[in-house]
Symmetry: C2
Subunit: 191 residues, 2 copies
């Protein structure tokens, strides 16, 4: 990989540049040409690594999802009980999107969430953050010896996740003011 013509690691550079551009200018201002320019490369160079713009965007989503997952895992680490972990994960979930409001619509808006995630066999609830919350929720039921039917479990899980997810969504809406500091890392209003 000599200097000049060949970049060396353009694929990853484009992903990193894309994240920076989204953080600075918002998703709608991310273009293939800008990302290419940020990497010091011609406007058509990305097509050697990505089929189209959507493929670059999905790669960026994967990368952002990894960061998101890491914060959730870090929040759960060191908790004594599963319901403690649930609360801290929920707080981290909300805090993450409070700090990066653009990421919410970027990750969950537009097309299928599965486009940038691996599918499991049943194609069900396969989004990694949801899997994390699901397994922590089940662990919590075990710890507290709460016995629920399959459907009751599913309902309880959906309630927990939707409340957390909904708060994250609301925290991202500029112009809707609440009396909370969503960036507080310990939001004990949950559950």
């Amino acid at each position: 990989m000599a200097d000049g013509y060949h970049h060396g690691n353009l694929r990853q550079a484009l992903i990193d540049a894309g994240i920076k551009l989204i953080n600075r200018d918002g998703e709608e201002n991310l273009s293939l040409r800008r990302a290419a320019a940020a990497c010091g490369v011609s406007h058509a160079a990305p097509y050697a690594h990505f089929k189209d713009k959507e493929e670059l965007i999905n790669a960026i989503k994967e990368s952002v999802t990894e960061k998101f997952m890491k914060e959730l895992e870090d929040a759960a680490e060191g908790c004594e009980s599963a319901d403690d972990a649930l609360i801290y994960m929920g707080s981290a979930y909300i805090t993450f999107f409070s700090k990066h409001p653009d990421y919410f619509v970027f990750l969950f808006g537009k097309q299928k969430i599965t486009a940038h995630t691996q599918m499991n066999k049943e194609n069900k609830n396969d989004y990694p953050p949801f899997l994390l919350i699901r397994q922590m929720y089940k662990k919590h039921l075990e710890e507290k010896n709460i016995e629920l039917s399959e459907e009751e479990q599913e309902i309880g899980l959906i309630k927990v996740w939707s409340m957390i997810h909904g708060m994250a969504s609301i925290a991202c809406m500029k112009g809707v003011k609440t009396s909370f500091n969503w960036k507080d890392p310990d939001l004990r209003l949950l559950l």
Copy 2:
């Protein structure tokens, strides 16, 4: 308003065409030029009625929000108790976005929600659907003689709204399957 040169009611026609285009092709395929073409008018004609694309989009958002509000009000109508009304409004909230998944990111994604809504004096919680839920929630507290501090009320309200809103958001995510039929008009899992 003779035939030919002058359209007569281009402003509203553009809004209607915009809604149709979003319903058929999704938000990302809505362009000023397409909307203009759908109205049989030149590509720059919209600029007589809208400052830029954003202004047209905000007008469309207002129109969609009105439809949304109407479904919420219809759901609450005829309910005997306020908490019954809350449940039916919540169901309608989720059902609305289940039927039109594109509307969720269209209404709540991107820029400020206040751009297409009137501001109240305090610039607080002024999004009409939230106001509706807020007042119904307070009515419910009164009916049941539940006395809460201002902050406790705010927390309770946020919990209810975020759970409904979160379920709506989840229902819109293609690729994340749950065992619920979100289009069921009576989702009694709530609250």
